[in-house]
Structure formats: structure tokens, C-alpha cells
């Protein structure tokens, strides 16, 4: 979006309200270093914790001796599995498969076996080095092939215990190492498949990648026996709250979680991570304890699933798509974490938003002896969009049709069925892809060794639509917005303030949006799935409307007008056009003195139906992007010259923030497509757990041009017709890059596109020519 359109927008709406690129309200304290993150906090009496982690990937613990560690200077407590005998120590919102610390068995390198709490960090580290552990080693399945092989070591035995928030209907039992499978079929594949003259059939590999937020997982826990307090950098405080309450047999209200700022999340801090361990250690130490992961520890706390996929697309020689058959295997590591949901979302995204005569999708979530995998921005969609979209391009090339035209002919239109039962398509995909292609200069001549690619997909967004918010207006007409969305750099506090400002005509400077404290902040399901603006924002809008109604009611009484529709809010006043009262005057009038406050509560809940994923999603997030790349055929080095993406957001509450979301997602997509890859040895050791060997994108990897096109069709379910953004470009960029290489004649079936991989593929292609 260009500067000129931004300015036009500024003149049409009130400053600070919806549609303006208001500066971050939390910008100044962050830039001046005053914003406090968990690692900055100190609670009186707090101890420092060091986690003692498994050096092997699979084995039974035959000896665990912490006596020497306990005797070390400064050590207050050492937590081991046997300390948890009085509680059911298993957690996991999808599958309750994970003990707080290893009980008798370890399943991945880095699994917590014990934790030391000491007066200083140095003491905790020194004591942890004194812990003695011995194992009976078990065979290791450190990758999908090993875990799926016949006779593979079985990583979990016993019955599958469903977690409390998987949202997947009945959770089936494990089969071998497969902990969950998802199927989605339409039409009769067997009957139509033969109609396809063109058959594209390949296997694909997507790497394990780490979310790499700047801040690692950090938590301070205090356990008084009747109450647990946590200061945590979690994305989903309310889900963590209820999981901790269950683990420690406390009422939900006795678990109090405080979340201020997160130094990034990208899904790595969704659901429960280090909180149970911190709470259990605090319980034993009877003092608050703080755990702050090192990067290498966070890399084994969560990551993105690596994937294997086999896909077969058939089409007529005219380019008309016929069928798609997909099998997906996602490596969820040693514990399920959010793997089942990632699997279902990948399954939903696999067919792509096209008209098919038949599709068959079978997606499997598989345990291996590696660090657990969970949510990562645009999960599922990022995994499969590049696979499906590269097959669409292959069909187009075989049929001699331009890839853009191919999509024009086959893409779903607004209102058509995306997924049996679920919400029909709520966006104009063809309009969007045309914009992205135009921004790339689609028809222009290509320079040598340069190619262009586009990609389209949909991501089921919104998660379970339950959010609450409270808006309070004080006697001086200041407003505080209590909403459980976690500020993790995406700018949610600013957006929430803008929504309240718009409804109440209050300047942004009079609005505050504090962090979450579960004791005061009303429930919000989670921050993720591009849902905050749409779902929590709607709750804020509704809460603000309640405050507005109170203002109108009291002003109406004062004016002697009973029909409040004759009244309106204007610049902090209520007016009927002739007479006017400021909000402060109204509140003083209402309470008889300059005090009291107006409180509004807003609620979003499933509207029609249960809100299940099956009936959803809240909205289909559009994943559309394009890329132009240049390849150095001598080295295989690929340079991203330009990208474009569409943020189909219904209404941009804050256009600059929308653009920043797309830019961040683009860069992260470049990382996933081009460099990032966690490497494991056959023994399950993570080989590249520092930035020296794990390559993330930097400023220098930015494309020369990165264009984000904001599309505002007013068709979202959120406040002012908005819908979420921030994930779409991440799913779409790897696909666009792969297709741009395909455009040069280099079809790639494995990510990331390291120079060596690309170079080898070039050699292969040249040899077969």
C-alpha cells in the first residue's frame, strides 16, 4: 500500500480510530527499555532454576541420584519424578501424554529429568552438573521413516488419554507411533481418477524448523499450597491456567497467571510449555522459582513439524482439475503437543481452494524420539501449500496454460464449499491473485535465470470462537480495555485500543490496554490462529458498545430524551445536535459525584452451532503471495528478488500493522523455504541448536521489493467487517518461491532450498535432458 492511500485514509476517519496507522501504544516503553519481560522480573524470595535434561533420546532411567546436587551450596530443592507421586503428572491439551518431568523413561534428547532451584543461577547450574543418571537405552526412532518402519521402537504405550482442548471430536487410539490421523474425502476418487490425462505424482519433504522468537520460554512460579501464581510468557494464559489447575488439583480461580509482554511467540508459546515444571519445582521449594530457557533448550521445547507428503493430482489436458490424493505424515516428536490439530489443519489445507471431482486426504501425526512439535505460525497450511501449488503449476505447464489463467479457471468462488460441512468461501480469491500477479509484473519478460511464481491457499483461522472483554470508562473519561489477547509484538494492544476509540470517540491517548492477569482479565481462548482482532476485537467492540449505551442512557435522561437513537457520540461528548454533555459530565451526573465508572462486558461465543472446527472456521484466512527469484546455476544460490502478498483483511483497523504482519510473515516464509532446518543425528541429537549453525533470515535476506496489498472488502466477521491476518503470507511464500523456481525449470520437492539441494537438482535435470 502506498503512502498516498495512507494519507487519504487519514483524512476520512478520525485520528486514532479504525483505519489509521496509529503508532504502537506500547512502542515508547519498549523502545526505552522499560517494558518488562519475564526474564526481567524478580519476585521477592525468588530462586533460580536449572533444568537437568536427558542426554539420550530413548531409554529407561535405571538410576537417578540427586543427593550430591542437593548438598551443593545455595540449593533449596531438586525436583525429580518421584516428587509427583501425589498428583497425576501428565499434561497435554490434545493428548495427555507428557509427564512434568521424566518418570521412568526419557523419549528425546533434552527431556527434563530433574530441576534444581538455588539461590543463584550459578549455584543451580553447578548443582545440576552433579546429578547422576543412568539408563537402559532403548532403540531410537529419530525420524519419520524410523518411526513408521515395521518393528519400529514404540515410543508411547498404554491407552491414549485425550486432552481437554483438542477440538477434534473423539480422539482415536494410537496405531504404532501414529498418535492421530485425519481423513477428508469428497467424491469418488476411484471413479474419477482415470479421467485425468495429466497425472502429477511426487513425494515431498518439509523440514523441522524452530519458531525462533527472540525471547525464549520463561516463567516464574509460586505455589503456596492453596494457590499457584505464574508470571509467564504464554500466548494462551487461560488454557494454561486450566491445565495447571487440573494438574495440581486446584480450582481454576486459584491459579493466577500474569502475562505482560512476549518477545515474540509465533506459536512457540502457545499452550502449556515450561509452566508445569516451574510450578512443581516451586511447590517443592516452597518459594517462587524462575526458569528461563536458553535458546538450545527452547529448541527442544517446541518446533514446527517436519513432514513427508505424497501427493497425486490429476487433470484433463485442458487444465481442468479432476482429483487429488494426499498422504501426509507429520513428525510430532516425542509428545503430541498441538500435533493432532496441526495434522487436521494440514489435512484441511491439502486439497487447496479448487473445484475437484474427488479428493482424498489422509494425514497422520507420528511420534519420534525428537523434541516435541507444536504450533508455528500458519501451521498445516505452510506444510502443504507449496506441495499442492507446485502440482497446480506442473499441471499448467503440461497443459500449456499460464499459471494465473490456470487458477482463474479452477479456483473456488465466493460462497462455494471449501470443506464439507464447514463455512463456505468468504473471500474473492481470483481478485486477490490477480493483484499479487500484477504487482510482480506477471506478463513482463523474464531476465535469464529468473522466474516468477504465485500461490493460493486457505487456512482455517480463528480457533474456537470464545473471547470476552471488559471496557471501563472512569470519571475523567479515561478508558481501560481488559482483554486477554497477548501482546507479542503483533500490536494487539494498539488494535484493541483503536476499536474502543472508534466506538467511544475517545482519543487514543486516553485508552490503556494492560497486560493479562487472569484474576481481572476476562477469558480469552488464545492468541493465535489470526484470531485476536476478529474474535477478541469483536468482544472489545461489544463491551465498548455497552459503555456507549450507558452514556446515551444517562445523557438521554439529562436531556429529557427517551429515544436514545436521537443521540450520538461525538469527540467525547453525547449530543442530540443542540445540547451536548461531555462523558465526564455524564458520569458525574449518573453517580452524583466525580467518581464511579461505566463498565461494559462483551462476549463472543459460537453463533449457531458449537463453534467446533468441523463447523468452522471463524473465517478462511487467505494465503496468497507471489515471488520472483534468481538462481545462480553455478552454485545453486537462490536470491529472492521481489515478493508480493495480499492481506485480505475485510477492513484494516491499522493498515501499517497489517503491512508489518505480511512483511514479517514473508521473511519467516523465506526462512522456512530457503534456510531453516533442524538437523538430527540418527541418535536423536539436535545438531544445530545455535544461531551459528541454524540459519534464520536477516535483513540481508530481504527481497529488494516486498509489496503487501491490503484488500478491504468488508466481508469479515470481526469488528467493522475485519478479519485476521498475519499467517497467510507465511503459508503462501514458500509455495510462491518453489513455483518461481519451477518457472525456470527447476522443480523442487524438498525444502529448504539450500544451494546444494538446488545445485544437485540442476545437475539431475541437466543429466536427464
Amino acid at each position: 500500500m502506498s503512502a498516498s492511500t495512507l494519507n487519504e485514509r487519514d483524512t476520512t476517519v478520525e485520528r486514532g480510530a479504525v483505519g489509521t496507522s496509529h503508532a504502537r501504544i506500547d512502542g515508547p516503553i519498549k523502545l526505552s527499555g522499560q517494558a518488562q519481560y519475564v526474564g526481567d522480573l524478580e519476585v521477592p524470595g525468588m530462586l533460580y532454576a536449572k533444568v537437568f535434561r536427558s542426554p539420550i533420546a530413548h531409554g529407561r532411567i535405571t538410576l537417578l541420584d540427586v543427593t550430591a546436587a542437593e548438598a551443593m551450596e545455595g540449593v533449596v530443592a531438586v525436583l525429580v519424578g518421584s516428587d509427583l507421586a501425589d498428583i497425576d503428572p501428565f499434561y497435554g491439551h490434545a493428548i495427555r501424554d507428557r509427564p512434568i518431568v521424566a518418570l521412568d523413561r526419557v523419549r528425546f534428547v533434552g527431556e527434563p529429568i530433574a530441576a534444581v532451584a538455588a539461590k543463584t543461577m550459578a549455584q543451580a547450574e553447578a548443582a545440576a552438573r552433579q546429578i547422576i543418571v543412568e539408563f537402559d537405552e532403548l532403540p531410537v526412532a529419530a525420524n519419520l521413516d524410523a518411526a513408521l518402519a515395521t518393528g519400529a521402537p514404540i515410543i508411547h504405550d498404554g491407552q491414549t488419554a485425550a486432552g481437554f482442548a483438542h477440538g477434534l471430536g473423539k480422539m482415536p487410539d494410537r496405531e504404532g507411533n501414529t498418535c492421530y490421523s485425519y481423513e477428508l474425502n469428497t467424491g469418488d476418487l476411484g471413479a474419477v481418477r482415470a479421467a485425468g490425462d495429466i497425472v502429477i505424482d511426487h513425494e515431498y519433504v518439509f523440514p523441522a524448523v524452530y519458531q525462533y522468537s527472540m525471547e525464549t520460554h520463561a516463567v516464574i512460579a509460586e505455589h503456596t499450597g492453596t494457590e499457584i501464581r505464574l508470571w509467564a510468557n504464554c500466548q494462551h494464559p487461560f488454557l494454561v491456567q486450566s491445565e495447571i489447575a487440573t494438574l495440581f488439583n486446584l480450582p481454576i480461580s486459584s491459579v493466577r497467571i500474569n502475562v505482560q509482554f512476549l518477545g515474540g511467540g509465533f506459536g512457540s508459546k502457545s499452550y502449556t510449555k515450561m509452566e508445569p515444571l516451574a510450578a512443581a519445582l516451586a511447590r517443592k521449594a516452597k518459594k517462587p522459582v524462575r526458569i528461563v530457557n536458553e535458546v538450545s533448550e527452547s529448541m527442544v521445547t517446541t518446533r514446527r513439524h517436519n513432514m513427508k507428503c505424497r501427493m497425486v493430482t490429476t487433470a484433463r489436458s485442458t487444465g481442468e482439475l479432476v482429483s487429488r490424493d494426499v498422504q501426509i505424515w507429520l513428525d510430532t516428536g516425542a509428545y503430541a503437543d498441538n500435533g493432532p490439530r496441526v495434522t487436521a489443519t494440514a489435512g484441511d489445507a491439502a486439497a487447496g481452494p479448487y473445484r475437484w471431482q474427488a479428493t482424498q486426504v489422509r494425514a497422520h501425526c507420528v511420534y519420534t524420539n525428537t523434541g516435541p512439535s507444536g504450533s508455528y505460525r500458519a501451521f498445516g497450511a505452510t506444510h502443504v501449500q507449496w506441495v499442492g501449488e507446485s502440482q497446480i503449476d506442473e499441471v499448467a505447464r503440461r497443459a500449456g496454460i499460464d499459471p494465473l489463467e490456470m487458477r482463474r479457471r479452477n479456483l473456488l468462488r465466493r460462497g462455494e464449499t471449501v470443506r464439507v460441512k464447514g463455512k463456505p468461501l468468504d473471500a474473492d480469491l481470483i481478485g486477490d491473485i490477480e493483484k499479487v500477479a500484477a504487482a510482480l509484473g506477471w506478463g513482463d519478460e523474464r531476465k535469464p535465470n529468473r522466474g516468477r511464481g504465485i500461490s493460493v491457499g486457505l487456512l482455517a483461522a480463528g480457533a474456537h470462537p470464545v473471547s470476552m472483554a471488559t471496557v471501563r470508562m472512569d470519571a475523567a473519561a479515561g478508558v481501560s480495555v481488559l482483554v486477554g489477547s497477548t501482546e507479542m509484538g503483533q500490536g494487539t494492544r494498539t488494535v484493541m485500543a483503536q476499536i474502543a476509540a472508534q466506538v467511544l470517540t475517545v482519543p487514543m491517548s486516553k485508552i490503556s490496554v494492560p497486560g493479562t492477569d487472569t484474576s481481572f482479565t476476562p477469558y480469552d481462548r488464545s492468541t493465535g490462529a489470526s484470531r485476536s482482532t476478529t474474535v477478541a476485537g469483536k468482544a472489545v467492540e461489544r463491551a465498548a458498545l455497552v459503555v456507549r449505551a450507558s452514556l446515551l442512557e444517562t445523557a438521554g435522561l439529562a436531556f429529557g430524551i427517551s429515544d436514545t437513537s436521537m443521540l450520538r457520540l461525538e469527540d467525547g461528548c453525547v449530543t442530540d445536535g443542540k445540547q451536548s454533555m461531555t462523558f465526564s459530565q455524564i458520569i458525574t451526573k449518573r453517580f452524583g459525584f466525580a467518581g464511579g465508572e461505566l463498565v461494559g462486558h462483551g462476549e463472543v461465543k459460537p453463533e449457531g452451532g458449537s463453534g467446533s472446527y468441523e463447523e468452522g472456521p471463524v473465517f478462511w484466512e487467505v494465503c496468497i503471495a507471489g515471488a520472483e527469484v534468481e538462481v545462480d546455476i553455478n552454485t545453486g544460490v537462490v536470491t529472492i528478488v521481489r515478493t508480493s502478498s495480499v492481506a485480505d483483511v475485510g477492513r484494516a483497523i491499522n493498515p501499517a500493522q497489517v503491512e508489518r504482519q505480511d512483511e514479517g510473515a514473508t521473511l519467516q516464509g523465506i526462512g522456512n523455504a530457503m534456510f531453516e532446518e533442524m538437523l538430527y543425528s540418527a541418535d536423536g541429537d539436535l545438531l544445530n541448536d545455535t544461531l551459528l549453525d541454524y540459519r534464520i533470515p536477516t535483513m540481508l535476506d530481504m527481497p529488494e521489493t516486498m509489496q503487501c496489498i491490503i484488500v478491504e472488502n468488508g466481508d469479515g466477521p470481526g469488528p467493522f467487517g475485519s478479519k485476521g491476518c498475519g499467517e497467510g503470507a507465511l503459508a503462501a511464500i514458500p509455495a510462491a518461491i518453489v513455483n518461481a523456481l519451477g518457472d525456470i525449470g527447476i522443480d523442487m520437492y524438498e525444502l529448504p532450498l539450500t544451494p546444494e539441494r538446488v545445485w544437485k537438482r540442476i545437475q539431475q535435470i541437466q543429466q536427464t535432458k
Partner: protein, 288 residues
């Protein structure tokens, strides 16, 4: 991990530093920019009770250029090299090689001495110095100084050819001569280069008279091969393509490589071939 506690000793002179190092033995290490050392300590790979800070020794901090050549003190930072106008005038390719190392944070404190003493297999300066015919001034416990060539100074990864209680005092390189050039190129995919090639060439009347090709960051140590250089000497415009190809083939077949996270032997061999041809071509075309 936290860096375990240690004692810091600020050396006043080269002799003082060497004395301290001899006194504390294996419990101590020289500490310059710390960009390698602190990483190693954080990773828990070494446990040192004493660090000997050599950053404040005047002799290690100076750059001089005169008729005998260029002398750069071991503790001069990359940043200082980048910002030195005399160096930029005399050896622009050296300065630009330096300014492509790592990032500005590392360059602000990292030093040439630290790089060469650490002997990481991925070293741009070591490869460059090999091609240009650079030398090192080493200070010893007996108070003597000796000058050793870069060629042979790295005997293996992390193995500089000097005693533990010896130190690099300065780095010497010849001044730019008319009719000669050095071209340096690297390919960097992660933090450190995956391959560095530097080529020195000079020519008289359309014929290459001297050539030195150095290949680094891809094997265990930076290397050069007499046969490669000999293949380039005598090149004229008409024989350029064919001889470059031959030289590159010799280099790719002679170098010892291994598979690792930076690539397979197959790919690395190809990179050696490609970059030797490319960099040598640039150097030779510039002098022919």
C-alpha cells in the same frame, strides 16, 4: 549457560602477557575481542580461571605502512582496519575482505590476531594472507620474535603453529605492487563462509608471471597447491580458458574435503572448481 567466574589480568606489554600466560598455564588464555573465546566459554567447552587481556598493549594496537610493507598489530580490530585510509588506498581488496567478515558487532571488537590464533577452518583473512604471501610476527617466552609465513601456520583446525605461551604480535603483508592484484571472494550461507578463494596474480606484457591461489573455509585449513599456481603462470589471453579449467580441476582433485552440515564432498568439490576458475579469471583478466 553462564560463563563461569574467572579472573581478568590486563597485560601491559607483549612480554608481560606471555609471562602471565606461562605462569597460569592451561588455566589461562589470551583474551582479545573475545568473539571466539566467549562463545567457547559459554558453550562450556573450556573452563578458564584466568583471562589475559591483550587489548591494551600499544604495540599490538598499531598499523604502520612503509617501504618494508604493511604491519598490523594483532589486537587491531576489523573496524579499525576498515576505517584506515592508508590501508584503503594501498590494499582496497584487503579492506573490503575485512569489511565482509561477520557483522558489525563482531567487527567492532574482533581482531586479525584472534582470527589467526584461533585457526577456525573458515577464515577469510588466513586465506587472503596465504594468497598475498603474508607473514606473522610471533612473540615467545624467551623474549625473542620470529617471522613465520602464513603458509604452514595453520596445521589443522584450531591448531596454529605456535606454542601455547607464544602470541601473534603482528601480521605483515606486502604492499601493493604495480602489475599485481589480489582478488578475494567468499560464499557465505550461514555466519561463516562456506568457501573463500583468494588469488594473487601478476603479469608482464600480456603473460602471467606469478600466481598464487588459496582456497579456504571449505576444508580443514586454508590451502594452496604449487601445481595449481604453476598451471596459471605463463597464461596468455589465448590460453586462459583452458588453463583455468586445468588449474581448477587440479585444485578440486587435490584438496581434502569431508561431508558435514555445510555440504557434501561432491558439492564442496564443485564449489572449489567453480570459485577457483571464477576468482582466478578475475585476477588474471585484471593483469593481462
Amino acid at each position: 549457560m553462564l560463563v563461569p567466574p574467572f579472573e581478568m589480568h590486563v597485560a601491559k606489554s607483549v612480554e608481560d602477557a606471555i609471562l602471565l600466560r606461562s605462569e597460569f598455564g592451561d588455566d589461562a588464555s589470551f583474551y582479545c575481542g573475545g568473539t571466539e573465546l566467549v562463545l567457547v566459554m559459554k558453550l562450556g567447552l573450556t573452563d578458564l580461571a584466568h583471562l589475559i587481556d591483550i587489548k591494551h598493549v600499544d604495540e599490538l594496537r598499531t598499523i604502520s605502512i612503509d617501504d618494508s610493507g604493511i604491519r598490523i598489530g594483532a589486537a587491531v580490530t576489523y573496524r579499525e582496519i576498515e576505517n584506515n585510509p592508508l590501508l584503503a588506498a594501498d590494499r582496497p581488496e584487503f579492506v573490503s575482505m575485512i569489511s565482509g567478515i561477520a557483522n558489525i558487532r563482531v567487527r567492532s571488537v574482533g581482531t586479525l590476531g584472534g582470527n589467526l590464533a584461533f585457526a577456525d577452518p573458515s577464515s577469510d583473512p588466513a586465506t587472503y594472507l596465504l594468497a598475498v604471501g603474508g607473514e606473522l610476527e610471533i612473540g615467545s617466552a624467551d623474549g625473542k620474535r620470529r617471522i613465520v609465513p602464513m603458509d604452514g601456520f595453520h596445521t589443522g583446525p584450531y591448531q596454529p603453529n605456535m606454542q601455547d605461551n607464544e602470541m601473534i604480535v603482528s601480521v605483515r603483508l606486502p604492499r601493493n605492487v604495480t602489475g599485481g592484484v589480489v582478488v578475494h571472494e567468499r560464499m557465505k550461507l550461514k555466519e561463516r563462509p562456506n568457501i573463500t578463494v583468494a588469488v594473487f596474480a601478476s603479469a608482464v606484457k600480456g603473460k602471467v608471471t606469478q600466481a598464487r591461489v588459496a582456497v579456504g573455509s571449505v576444508g580443514l585449513v586454508p590451502v594452496r597447491f604449487d601445481e595449481v599456481d604453476a598451471t596459471l603462470v605463463g597464461i596468455e589471453a589465448s590460453t586462459l580458458d583452458e588453463r583455468l579449467l586445468r588449474a581448477a580441476t587440479i585444485a578440486r582433485d587435490s584438496i581434502s574435503l569431508f561431508d558435514d552440515a555445510n555440504g557434501s564432498v561432491e558439492y564442496k568439490r564443485h564449489l572449489v572448481d567453480h570459485f577457483v576458475q571464477k576468482v582466478a579469471r578475475k585476477a588474471i583478466e585484471a593483469v593481462l
